[in-house]
Amino acid sequence: MKNFSPGWTLIKIYTFLVYIFLFTPIVVVIVLAFNPKQFGIFPMEGVSLRWFIKLAQDSAIIDAFKNSLILGALTALLSTTIGILASLAFIRCEFPGKNTLNTLLLAPIMIPEVVLGVALLLFLRFLQMPKSFFLLLIGHVVLTLPYVLLIVQARLGGIRKDYEDAAKSLGANAFQTFKEITFPLLLPAVLAGALFSFTISFDDITATLFWATAQNQTVPVKIFSMLRNSISPEINALGAVMIVLTVATPLLAGYLSRKLSKLRE
Protein backbone atom coordinates (compact mmCIF):
# COMPACT_ATOMS: atom_id res chain seq x y z
CA MET A 1 0.00 0.00 0.00
CA LYS A 2 1.38 3.40 -0.95
CA ASN A 3 1.35 5.48 2.17
CA PHE A 4 0.23 8.59 0.29
CA SER A 5 -3.00 7.24 -1.14
CA PRO A 6 -6.17 9.09 -0.08
CA GLY A 7 -7.55 5.86 1.39
CA TRP A 8 -4.59 5.49 3.72
CA THR A 9 -4.93 9.12 4.81
CA LEU A 10 -8.57 8.50 5.73
CA ILE A 11 -7.55 5.42 7.72
CA LYS A 12 -4.99 7.50 9.59
CA ILE A 13 -7.52 10.22 10.38
CA TYR A 14 -10.09 7.65 11.50
CA THR A 15 -7.56 5.99 13.79
CA PHE A 16 -6.59 9.35 15.21
CA LEU A 17 -10.26 10.09 16.00
CA VAL A 18 -10.59 6.75 17.80
CA TYR A 19 -7.56 7.72 19.91
CA ILE A 20 -9.23 11.04 20.70
CA PHE A 21 -12.34 9.14 21.78
CA LEU A 22 -10.37 6.83 24.05
CA PHE A 23 -8.10 9.43 25.56
CA THR A 24 -10.27 12.50 26.04
CA PRO A 25 -12.04 11.11 29.13
CA ILE A 26 -8.71 10.18 30.66
CA VAL A 27 -7.05 13.54 29.92
CA VAL A 28 -10.07 15.49 31.15
CA VAL A 29 -9.90 13.78 34.56
CA ILE A 30 -6.29 14.86 34.97
CA VAL A 31 -6.97 18.43 33.80
CA LEU A 32 -10.02 18.90 36.02
CA ALA A 33 -8.14 17.61 39.05
CA PHE A 34 -6.46 21.04 39.10
CA ASN A 35 -9.77 22.91 38.96
CA PRO A 36 -9.85 25.41 41.84
CA LYS A 37 -13.68 25.64 41.83
CA GLN A 38 -15.79 23.81 44.35
CA PHE A 39 -18.68 22.89 42.06
CA GLY A 40 -19.35 22.28 38.43
CA ILE A 41 -16.90 21.18 35.80
CA PHE A 42 -16.04 23.75 33.16
CA PRO A 43 -15.04 26.54 32.74
CA MET A 44 -11.79 26.25 34.64
CA GLU A 45 -10.44 29.41 36.19
CA GLY A 46 -6.82 28.93 37.06
CA VAL A 47 -4.94 25.98 38.45
CA SER A 48 -4.86 24.78 42.02
CA LEU A 49 -3.50 21.90 44.04
CA ARG A 50 -6.15 22.26 46.75
CA TRP A 51 -7.89 18.95 45.94
CA PHE A 52 -4.68 16.95 46.10
CA ILE A 53 -3.94 18.51 49.48
CA LYS A 54 -7.47 17.67 50.60
CA LEU A 55 -6.99 14.05 49.47
CA ALA A 56 -3.73 13.72 51.37
CA GLN A 57 -5.50 14.85 54.53
CA ASP A 58 -8.47 12.53 54.12
CA SER A 59 -7.78 9.52 56.33
CA ALA A 60 -10.56 7.43 54.76
CA ILE A 61 -8.96 7.80 51.34
CA ILE A 62 -5.48 7.06 52.66
CA ASP A 63 -6.88 3.89 54.28
CA ALA A 64 -8.54 2.87 51.02
CA PHE A 65 -5.22 3.35 49.25
CA LYS A 66 -3.37 1.22 51.79
CA ASN A 67 -6.03 -1.43 51.47
CA SER A 68 -5.87 -1.43 47.69
CA LEU A 69 -2.08 -1.67 47.64
CA ILE A 70 -1.92 -4.52 50.17
CA LEU A 71 -4.75 -6.34 48.45
CA GLY A 72 -3.16 -5.94 45.02
CA ALA A 73 0.24 -7.12 46.23
CA LEU A 74 -1.13 -10.16 48.05
CA THR A 75 -3.38 -11.05 45.10
CA ALA A 76 -0.41 -10.85 42.73
CA LEU A 77 1.74 -12.99 45.02
CA LEU A 78 -0.85 -15.73 45.58
CA SER A 79 -2.22 -15.77 42.07
CA THR A 80 1.20 -15.93 40.44
CA THR A 81 2.45 -18.63 42.79
CA ILE A 82 -0.42 -21.05 42.28
CA GLY A 83 -0.62 -20.07 38.61
CA ILE A 84 3.03 -21.06 37.99
CA LEU A 85 2.54 -24.42 39.72
CA ALA A 86 -0.55 -25.20 37.67
CA SER A 87 1.11 -24.07 34.43
CA LEU A 88 4.04 -26.43 35.07
CA ALA A 89 1.60 -29.31 35.38
CA PHE A 90 -0.26 -28.35 32.19
CA ILE A 91 2.80 -27.81 30.01
CA ARG A 92 5.29 -30.32 31.41
CA CYS A 93 3.15 -33.27 32.45
CA GLU A 94 0.75 -35.64 30.76
CA PHE A 95 -2.27 -36.75 32.72
CA PRO A 96 -5.91 -37.65 32.05
CA GLY A 97 -8.41 -34.81 32.06
CA LYS A 98 -5.76 -32.19 31.34
CA ASN A 99 -7.81 -30.12 28.90
CA THR A 100 -10.93 -30.26 30.99
CA LEU A 101 -9.06 -28.98 34.03
CA ASN A 102 -7.37 -26.25 32.06
CA THR A 103 -10.75 -25.07 30.80
CA LEU A 104 -12.12 -25.18 34.33
CA LEU A 105 -9.32 -22.96 35.60
CA LEU A 106 -9.99 -20.47 32.80
CA ALA A 107 -13.72 -20.43 33.61
CA PRO A 108 -13.58 -17.28 35.76
CA ILE A 109 -12.99 -15.29 32.55
CA MET A 110 -16.27 -16.53 31.12
CA ILE A 111 -18.36 -16.04 34.27
CA PRO A 112 -19.59 -12.48 34.66
CA GLU A 113 -18.14 -10.69 37.66
CA VAL A 114 -21.60 -9.85 38.93
CA VAL A 115 -22.42 -13.53 39.24
CA LEU A 116 -19.11 -14.29 40.93
CA GLY A 117 -19.76 -11.38 43.27
CA VAL A 118 -23.18 -12.72 44.30
CA ALA A 119 -21.96 -16.33 44.44
CA LEU A 120 -19.08 -15.75 46.83
CA LEU A 121 -21.22 -13.54 49.02
CA LEU A 122 -23.96 -16.13 49.17
CA PHE A 123 -21.45 -18.85 50.02
CA LEU A 124 -20.09 -16.70 52.84
CA ARG A 125 -23.60 -16.07 54.10
CA PHE A 126 -24.27 -19.79 54.13
CA LEU A 127 -21.10 -20.35 56.18
CA GLN A 128 -22.32 -17.52 58.43
CA MET A 129 -19.08 -15.64 58.13
CA PRO A 130 -18.89 -11.83 58.01
CA LYS A 131 -17.44 -9.96 55.05
CA SER A 132 -13.72 -9.45 55.55
CA PHE A 133 -10.47 -8.58 53.87
CA PHE A 134 -9.96 -12.31 53.35
CA LEU A 135 -13.07 -12.43 51.14
CA LEU A 136 -11.69 -9.66 48.93
CA LEU A 137 -8.39 -11.53 48.65
CA ILE A 138 -10.01 -14.86 47.71
CA GLY A 139 -12.26 -13.15 45.20
CA HIS A 140 -9.40 -11.28 43.57
CA VAL A 141 -7.24 -14.41 43.35
CA VAL A 142 -10.06 -16.25 41.54
CA LEU A 143 -10.56 -13.27 39.23
CA THR A 144 -6.88 -12.93 38.29
CA LEU A 145 -5.76 -16.57 38.16
CA PRO A 146 -6.89 -17.20 34.54
CA TYR A 147 -4.78 -14.32 33.23
CA VAL A 148 -1.69 -15.57 35.05
CA LEU A 149 -2.29 -19.06 33.65
CA LEU A 150 -2.62 -17.76 30.09
CA ILE A 151 0.50 -15.60 30.27
CA VAL A 152 2.72 -18.15 32.04
CA GLN A 153 1.58 -21.10 29.91
CA ALA A 154 2.23 -19.20 26.70
CA ARG A 155 5.79 -18.48 27.81
CA LEU A 156 6.45 -21.93 29.27
CA GLY A 157 5.33 -23.55 26.02
CA GLY A 158 8.07 -21.57 24.29
CA ILE A 159 10.86 -22.75 26.61
CA ARG A 160 12.53 -25.90 25.27
CA LYS A 161 12.44 -28.86 27.57
CA ASP A 162 16.04 -29.75 26.60
CA TYR A 163 17.48 -27.31 29.15
CA GLU A 164 15.58 -28.96 31.97
CA ASP A 165 16.49 -32.42 30.72
CA ALA A 166 20.15 -31.41 30.55
CA ALA A 167 20.07 -30.18 34.14
CA LYS A 168 18.42 -33.39 35.26
CA SER A 169 20.96 -35.57 33.45
CA LEU A 170 23.70 -33.62 35.23
CA GLY A 171 22.19 -34.72 38.52
CA ALA A 172 19.91 -31.87 39.49
CA ASN A 173 16.69 -32.84 41.24
CA ALA A 174 13.31 -31.44 40.22
CA PHE A 175 13.43 -28.52 42.63
CA GLN A 176 16.98 -27.52 41.68
CA THR A 177 16.08 -27.71 38.00
CA PHE A 178 13.13 -25.39 38.55
CA LYS A 179 15.17 -22.95 40.64
CA GLU A 180 18.22 -22.81 38.35
CA ILE A 181 16.75 -23.30 34.88
CA THR A 182 12.99 -22.99 34.51
CA PHE A 183 12.27 -20.08 36.82
CA PRO A 184 14.92 -17.70 35.42
CA LEU A 185 13.70 -18.44 31.88
CA LEU A 186 10.13 -17.93 33.01
CA LEU A 187 10.79 -14.69 34.87
CA PRO A 188 9.43 -12.24 32.26
CA ALA A 189 6.11 -14.08 32.19
CA VAL A 190 6.04 -14.29 35.99
CA LEU A 191 6.53 -10.54 36.28
CA ALA A 192 3.95 -9.86 33.57
CA GLY A 193 1.46 -12.15 35.33
CA ALA A 194 2.11 -10.52 38.69
CA LEU A 195 1.75 -7.02 37.22
CA PHE A 196 -1.43 -8.03 35.43
CA SER A 197 -3.01 -9.46 38.57
CA PHE A 198 -1.97 -6.44 40.60
CA THR A 199 -3.56 -4.06 38.10
CA ILE A 200 -6.76 -6.09 37.81
CA SER A 201 -7.07 -6.28 41.58
CA PHE A 202 -6.25 -2.61 42.09
CA ASP A 203 -8.88 -1.52 39.55
CA ASP A 204 -11.63 -4.03 40.09
CA ILE A 205 -14.99 -2.58 40.97
CA THR A 206 -17.77 -4.76 39.51
CA ALA A 207 -17.28 -7.74 41.82
CA THR A 208 -15.53 -5.84 44.60
CA LEU A 209 -18.59 -3.68 45.17
CA PHE A 210 -20.35 -6.83 46.41
CA TRP A 211 -17.54 -7.81 48.77
CA ALA A 212 -16.36 -4.50 50.22
CA THR A 213 -17.57 -3.13 53.55
CA ALA A 214 -17.37 0.31 55.11
CA GLN A 215 -14.26 -0.86 57.00
CA ASN A 216 -12.76 -2.63 54.00
CA GLN A 217 -12.79 -0.13 51.17
CA THR A 218 -10.64 -0.09 48.07
CA VAL A 219 -9.96 3.09 46.07
CA PRO A 220 -12.44 2.31 43.25
CA VAL A 221 -15.15 1.52 45.82
CA LYS A 222 -14.36 4.81 47.54
CA ILE A 223 -14.69 6.66 44.22
CA PHE A 224 -18.01 4.91 43.66
CA SER A 225 -19.38 6.03 47.01
CA MET A 226 -18.15 9.60 46.42
CA LEU A 227 -19.99 9.63 43.09
CA ARG A 228 -23.29 9.20 44.94
CA ASN A 229 -23.53 12.97 45.40
CA SER A 230 -22.19 14.19 42.09
CA ILE A 231 -18.90 14.48 40.32
CA SER A 232 -16.48 16.81 42.07
CA PRO A 233 -12.94 18.07 41.59
CA GLU A 234 -11.93 15.88 44.51
CA ILE A 235 -13.05 12.73 42.67
CA ASN A 236 -11.15 13.89 39.60
CA ALA A 237 -8.05 14.46 41.72
CA LEU A 238 -8.33 10.95 43.16
CA GLY A 239 -8.83 9.64 39.63
CA ALA A 240 -5.73 11.49 38.46
CA VAL A 241 -3.63 9.93 41.22
CA MET A 242 -4.96 6.49 40.28
CA ILE A 243 -4.23 7.03 36.59
CA VAL A 244 -0.67 8.12 37.26
CA LEU A 245 -0.13 5.09 39.51
CA THR A 246 -1.63 2.41 37.30
CA VAL A 247 -0.18 3.76 34.05
CA ALA A 248 3.25 4.72 35.33
CA THR A 249 3.89 1.43 37.14
CA PRO A 250 3.61 -0.91 34.12
CA LEU A 251 5.45 1.55 31.87
CA LEU A 252 8.28 1.83 34.36
CA ALA A 253 8.35 -1.94 34.82
CA GLY A 254 8.50 -2.48 31.07
CA TYR A 255 11.25 0.08 30.71
CA LEU A 256 13.32 -1.41 33.55
CA SER A 257 12.93 -4.97 32.27
CA ARG A 258 14.18 -3.87 28.84
CA LYS A 259 17.12 -2.14 30.49
CA LEU A 260 17.91 -5.24 32.55
CA SER A 261 17.78 -7.57 29.56
CA LYS A 262 20.12 -5.24 27.68
CA LEU A 263 22.55 -5.31 30.61
CA ARG A 264 22.53 -9.09 30.59
CA GLU A 265 23.44 -9.21 26.93
Binding site: Y14, V28, F42, L88, I111, V114, V118, I231, I235, I243
Partner: protein, 288 residues
Protein backbone atom coordinates in the same frame (compact mmCIF):
# COMPACT_ATOMS: atom_id res chain seq x y z
CA UNK B 1 9.99 -34.37 44.85
CA UNK B 2 9.53 -37.81 43.30
CA UNK B 3 8.49 -37.87 39.70
CA UNK B 4 5.70 -40.34 40.27
CA UNK B 5 2.11 -40.37 39.06
CA UNK B 6 1.01 -37.85 41.64
CA UNK B 7 3.25 -34.97 40.63
CA UNK B 8 0.92 -33.04 38.32
CA UNK B 9 -1.84 -33.33 40.91
CA UNK B 10 0.39 -31.85 43.57
CA UNK B 11 1.18 -28.91 41.29
CA UNK B 12 -2.47 -28.42 40.41
CA UNK B 13 -3.88 -28.89 43.89
CA UNK B 14 -3.77 -25.24 45.04
CA UNK B 15 -5.39 -23.70 41.95
CA UNK B 16 -7.96 -26.43 41.48
CA UNK B 17 -8.89 -26.21 45.17
CA UNK B 18 -9.21 -22.43 44.97
CA UNK B 19 -11.36 -22.49 41.84
CA UNK B 20 -13.51 -25.35 43.12
CA UNK B 21 -14.04 -23.93 46.57
CA UNK B 22 -14.49 -20.28 45.62
CA UNK B 23 -16.02 -20.46 42.16
CA UNK B 24 -17.61 -23.82 41.31
CA UNK B 25 -19.26 -24.43 44.68
CA UNK B 26 -20.49 -20.83 45.07
CA UNK B 27 -21.99 -20.91 41.56
CA UNK B 28 -23.73 -24.21 42.45
CA UNK B 29 -25.02 -22.41 45.53
CA UNK B 30 -26.61 -19.75 43.35
CA UNK B 31 -28.40 -22.42 41.36
CA UNK B 32 -29.68 -24.16 44.51
CA UNK B 33 -30.66 -20.86 46.10
CA UNK B 34 -32.68 -19.78 43.08
CA UNK B 35 -35.28 -22.42 43.99
CA UNK B 36 -35.58 -21.31 47.61
CA UNK B 37 -38.41 -19.29 49.09
CA UNK B 38 -38.12 -15.91 50.68
CA UNK B 39 -40.13 -15.58 53.85
CA UNK B 40 -41.65 -12.20 54.84
CA UNK B 41 -39.35 -12.19 57.86
CA UNK B 42 -36.41 -11.98 55.50
CA UNK B 43 -35.19 -15.50 56.22
CA UNK B 44 -34.75 -17.85 53.29
CA UNK B 45 -36.52 -21.19 53.32
CA UNK B 46 -34.95 -24.19 51.56
CA UNK B 47 -37.38 -25.38 48.93
CA UNK B 48 -37.59 -26.61 45.39
CA UNK B 49 -40.03 -24.48 43.46
CA UNK B 50 -39.90 -22.28 40.41
CA UNK B 51 -41.53 -19.25 41.97
CA UNK B 52 -38.51 -16.97 41.52
CA UNK B 53 -38.35 -17.82 37.82
CA UNK B 54 -42.11 -17.44 37.45
CA UNK B 55 -41.84 -14.02 39.10
CA UNK B 56 -39.29 -12.98 36.48
CA UNK B 57 -41.57 -13.89 33.59
CA UNK B 58 -44.97 -13.10 35.08
CA UNK B 59 -45.23 -9.66 33.51
CA UNK B 60 -43.23 -7.69 30.98
CA UNK B 61 -41.15 -5.68 33.44
CA UNK B 62 -38.23 -8.09 33.90
CA UNK B 63 -38.19 -9.68 30.41
CA UNK B 64 -37.98 -6.14 29.02
CA UNK B 65 -34.75 -5.62 30.97
CA UNK B 66 -33.42 -8.92 29.62
CA UNK B 67 -34.25 -7.90 26.05
CA UNK B 68 -32.75 -4.45 26.61
CA UNK B 69 -29.54 -6.12 27.84
CA UNK B 70 -29.34 -8.22 24.67
CA UNK B 71 -30.10 -5.18 22.51
CA UNK B 72 -27.45 -2.97 24.18
CA UNK B 73 -24.91 -5.80 23.97
CA UNK B 74 -25.56 -6.13 20.24
CA UNK B 75 -25.37 -2.35 19.80
CA UNK B 76 -22.00 -2.25 21.53
CA UNK B 77 -20.74 -5.16 19.39
CA UNK B 78 -21.70 -3.33 16.18
CA UNK B 79 -20.22 -0.03 17.36
CA UNK B 80 -16.99 -1.75 18.46
CA UNK B 81 -16.60 -3.45 15.07
CA UNK B 82 -17.29 -0.19 13.21
CA UNK B 83 -14.92 1.81 15.40
CA UNK B 84 -12.33 -0.90 15.95
CA UNK B 85 -11.65 -2.47 12.56
CA UNK B 86 -9.98 0.50 10.92
CA UNK B 87 -7.52 1.23 13.76
CA UNK B 88 -6.60 -2.49 13.85
CA UNK B 89 -6.05 -2.40 10.10
CA UNK B 90 -3.94 0.72 10.54
CA UNK B 91 -1.62 -1.09 13.00
CA UNK B 92 -1.40 -4.06 10.67
CA UNK B 93 -0.40 -2.05 7.61
CA UNK B 94 1.59 0.64 9.37
CA UNK B 95 5.27 0.75 8.52
CA UNK B 96 5.89 3.56 10.97
CA UNK B 97 8.73 3.35 13.46
CA UNK B 98 6.18 4.19 16.11
CA UNK B 99 3.94 1.17 15.46
CA UNK B 100 4.79 -0.31 18.88
CA UNK B 101 3.96 3.00 20.54
CA UNK B 102 0.58 3.17 18.78
CA UNK B 103 -0.20 -0.34 19.97
CA UNK B 104 0.87 0.47 23.50
CA UNK B 105 -1.42 3.50 23.45
CA UNK B 106 -4.42 1.35 22.52
CA UNK B 107 -3.66 -0.84 25.52
CA UNK B 108 -3.13 2.07 27.91
CA UNK B 109 -6.85 2.49 28.71
CA UNK B 110 -6.78 -1.08 30.10
CA UNK B 111 -4.60 0.24 32.87
CA UNK B 112 -6.83 3.15 33.72
CA UNK B 113 -9.41 2.23 36.29
CA UNK B 114 -12.76 1.23 34.80
CA UNK B 115 -14.74 3.45 37.17
CA UNK B 116 -12.63 6.49 36.30
CA UNK B 117 -13.06 5.95 32.57
CA UNK B 118 -16.79 5.53 33.11
CA UNK B 119 -17.39 8.51 35.37
CA UNK B 120 -15.30 10.82 33.20
CA UNK B 121 -18.09 10.91 30.63
CA UNK B 122 -19.89 13.11 33.16
CA UNK B 123 -16.97 15.56 32.77
CA UNK B 124 -17.48 15.45 29.03
CA UNK B 125 -21.23 15.15 28.47
CA UNK B 126 -22.57 16.87 31.60
CA UNK B 127 -24.42 20.20 31.54
CA UNK B 128 -21.21 22.06 32.37
CA UNK B 129 -19.08 19.41 30.70
CA UNK B 130 -16.53 19.73 27.92
CA UNK B 131 -18.92 19.45 24.95
CA UNK B 132 -21.59 21.85 26.28
CA UNK B 133 -18.94 24.28 27.43
CA UNK B 134 -17.38 24.31 23.97
CA UNK B 135 -20.69 24.65 22.11
CA UNK B 136 -21.84 27.48 24.40
CA UNK B 137 -18.55 29.24 23.89
CA UNK B 138 -18.71 29.23 20.11
CA UNK B 139 -22.36 30.23 20.30
CA UNK B 140 -23.97 27.21 18.59
CA UNK B 141 -26.37 26.72 21.52
CA UNK B 142 -27.76 29.09 24.17
CA UNK B 143 -28.52 26.48 26.80
CA UNK B 144 -26.72 23.21 27.64
CA UNK B 145 -28.00 20.10 25.86
CA UNK B 146 -28.88 17.22 28.17
CA UNK B 147 -26.72 14.34 26.96
CA UNK B 148 -26.34 12.19 30.06
CA UNK B 149 -28.52 9.52 31.69
CA UNK B 150 -29.81 7.87 28.54
CA UNK B 151 -28.89 4.88 26.41
CA UNK B 152 -26.49 6.92 24.32
CA UNK B 153 -24.34 7.90 27.30
CA UNK B 154 -24.41 4.30 28.55
CA UNK B 155 -23.11 3.17 25.15
CA UNK B 156 -20.32 5.76 25.27
CA UNK B 157 -19.22 4.34 28.62
CA UNK B 158 -19.39 0.78 27.29
CA UNK B 159 -17.38 1.66 24.18
CA UNK B 160 -14.69 3.29 26.23
CA UNK B 161 -14.33 0.04 28.15
CA UNK B 162 -14.69 -2.48 25.31
CA UNK B 163 -13.14 -0.94 22.23
CA UNK B 164 -9.52 -1.89 23.08
CA UNK B 165 -10.58 -5.57 23.38
CA UNK B 166 -12.06 -5.48 19.90
CA UNK B 167 -9.11 -3.65 18.32
CA UNK B 168 -6.64 -6.15 19.80
CA UNK B 169 -8.66 -9.18 18.70
CA UNK B 170 -8.90 -7.93 15.13
CA UNK B 171 -5.25 -6.89 15.09
CA UNK B 172 -4.07 -10.33 16.28
CA UNK B 173 -6.02 -12.06 13.51
CA UNK B 174 -4.77 -9.59 10.88
CA UNK B 175 -1.18 -10.22 11.94
CA UNK B 176 -1.77 -13.93 11.47
CA UNK B 177 -2.56 -13.53 7.77
CA UNK B 178 0.15 -14.77 5.41
CA UNK B 179 1.50 -11.70 3.61
CA UNK B 180 2.25 -13.85 0.55
CA UNK B 181 -1.46 -14.17 -0.07
CA UNK B 182 -1.71 -10.42 -0.56
CA UNK B 183 1.27 -10.47 -2.89
CA UNK B 184 -0.39 -13.26 -4.84
CA UNK B 185 -3.64 -11.31 -5.09
CA UNK B 186 -1.78 -8.28 -6.32
CA UNK B 187 0.24 -10.19 -8.90
CA UNK B 188 -3.06 -11.53 -10.23
CA UNK B 189 -3.99 -7.94 -10.95
CA UNK B 190 -6.17 -7.15 -7.93
CA UNK B 191 -6.52 -3.53 -6.93
CA UNK B 192 -5.76 -2.57 -3.33
CA UNK B 193 -9.46 -2.58 -2.51
CA UNK B 194 -10.12 -5.93 -4.23
CA UNK B 195 -7.22 -7.54 -2.39
CA UNK B 196 -8.66 -6.29 0.87
CA UNK B 197 -12.16 -7.49 0.04
CA UNK B 198 -11.14 -10.90 -1.28
CA UNK B 199 -8.21 -11.79 1.01
CA UNK B 200 -7.72 -9.63 4.09
CA UNK B 201 -11.31 -9.11 5.19
CA UNK B 202 -12.44 -12.77 5.02
CA UNK B 203 -9.27 -13.97 6.77
CA UNK B 204 -9.67 -11.44 9.59
CA UNK B 205 -13.25 -12.46 10.36
CA UNK B 206 -12.21 -14.93 13.10
CA UNK B 207 -10.76 -11.96 14.98
CA UNK B 208 -13.92 -9.94 14.45
CA UNK B 209 -16.11 -12.77 15.71
CA UNK B 210 -13.88 -13.49 18.72
CA UNK B 211 -13.89 -9.80 19.61
CA UNK B 212 -17.65 -9.69 19.16
CA UNK B 213 -18.22 -12.60 21.52
CA UNK B 214 -15.95 -11.04 24.14
CA UNK B 215 -17.69 -7.65 23.84
CA UNK B 216 -21.14 -9.25 24.00
CA UNK B 217 -20.31 -11.31 27.10
CA UNK B 218 -18.68 -8.38 28.88
CA UNK B 219 -21.57 -6.02 28.06
CA UNK B 220 -24.25 -8.48 29.13
CA UNK B 221 -22.64 -8.82 32.56
CA UNK B 222 -21.86 -5.21 33.33
CA UNK B 223 -23.78 -2.83 35.58
CA UNK B 224 -21.50 0.14 36.20
CA UNK B 225 -21.97 2.12 32.98
CA UNK B 226 -25.80 2.00 33.23
CA UNK B 227 -25.59 2.77 36.96
CA UNK B 228 -23.34 5.81 36.55
CA UNK B 229 -24.28 7.08 33.08
CA UNK B 230 -27.81 5.73 32.60
CA UNK B 231 -31.17 6.92 33.78
CA UNK B 232 -33.93 4.94 35.51
CA UNK B 233 -35.01 3.41 32.18
CA UNK B 234 -31.56 2.12 31.22
CA UNK B 235 -31.09 -0.68 33.74
CA UNK B 236 -29.53 -3.86 32.42
CA UNK B 237 -29.83 -7.33 33.89
CA UNK B 238 -26.73 -7.00 36.06
CA UNK B 239 -28.13 -3.80 37.59
CA UNK B 240 -31.19 -5.80 38.53
CA UNK B 241 -29.04 -8.44 40.26
CA UNK B 242 -27.16 -5.73 42.15
CA UNK B 243 -30.39 -4.04 43.27
CA UNK B 244 -32.04 -7.28 44.39
CA UNK B 245 -29.02 -8.59 46.28
CA UNK B 246 -27.44 -5.44 47.73
CA UNK B 247 -30.56 -3.28 47.81
CA UNK B 248 -33.50 -5.42 48.88
CA UNK B 249 -31.50 -8.47 50.10
CA UNK B 250 -33.79 -10.76 48.11
CA UNK B 251 -31.22 -13.55 47.72
CA UNK B 252 -33.43 -16.22 46.10
CA UNK B 253 -34.72 -13.85 43.42
CA UNK B 254 -31.28 -12.33 42.89
CA UNK B 255 -29.91 -15.86 42.43
CA UNK B 256 -32.62 -16.72 39.91
CA UNK B 257 -31.78 -13.63 37.85
CA UNK B 258 -28.08 -14.59 38.02
CA UNK B 259 -28.92 -18.04 36.70
CA UNK B 260 -30.94 -16.47 33.86
CA UNK B 261 -27.93 -14.30 32.97
CA UNK B 262 -25.62 -17.35 33.09
CA UNK B 263 -28.00 -19.33 30.86
CA UNK B 264 -28.11 -16.48 28.36
CA UNK B 265 -24.30 -16.32 28.22
CA UNK B 266 -23.87 -20.09 28.02
CA UNK B 267 -26.35 -20.22 25.15
CA UNK B 268 -24.36 -17.53 23.35
CA UNK B 269 -20.95 -19.10 24.04
CA UNK B 270 -22.16 -22.61 23.18
CA UNK B 271 -23.66 -21.47 19.88
CA UNK B 272 -20.50 -19.53 19.09
CA UNK B 273 -18.29 -22.49 19.93
CA UNK B 274 -20.28 -24.76 17.61
CA UNK B 275 -19.69 -22.46 14.66
CA UNK B 276 -16.36 -20.77 15.35
CA UNK B 277 -14.56 -22.42 18.31
CA UNK B 278 -13.50 -20.42 21.36
CA UNK B 279 -9.76 -21.04 21.07
CA UNK B 280 -9.25 -17.82 19.11
CA UNK B 281 -10.27 -15.80 22.16
CA UNK B 282 -7.63 -17.28 24.41
CA UNK B 283 -5.10 -16.65 21.65
CA UNK B 284 -5.88 -12.96 21.69
CA UNK B 285 -5.73 -12.81 25.47
CA UNK B 286 -2.28 -14.38 25.37
CA UNK B 287 -1.25 -11.80 22.80
CA UNK B 288 -1.82 -9.09 25.35
Amino acid sequence: MKSGKWKPWALLAPSVTAVFLFLVIPVCFIIVYSFWLRAPSGADIPAFQFGNYAKFFEDLFYPRILLRTIRIALESVVLCVVMGYIPAYFFYRSTSRFKQVFLLLIMLPFWVSFIIRTMSWINIMGDSGLINHFLLKIGVIDAPIAMLYNEFSVLMGLLMYLLPFMVLNIYVSLEGIDKNLLEAARSMGCTEWQAFREVTLPLSLPGVSAGSLLVFVLTAGTYLPPMILGGPGNDMIANLIYKRVIGTLDWPFGSAISVILLLLLFAIVWTYNRYFGVNQIFKSLQGK
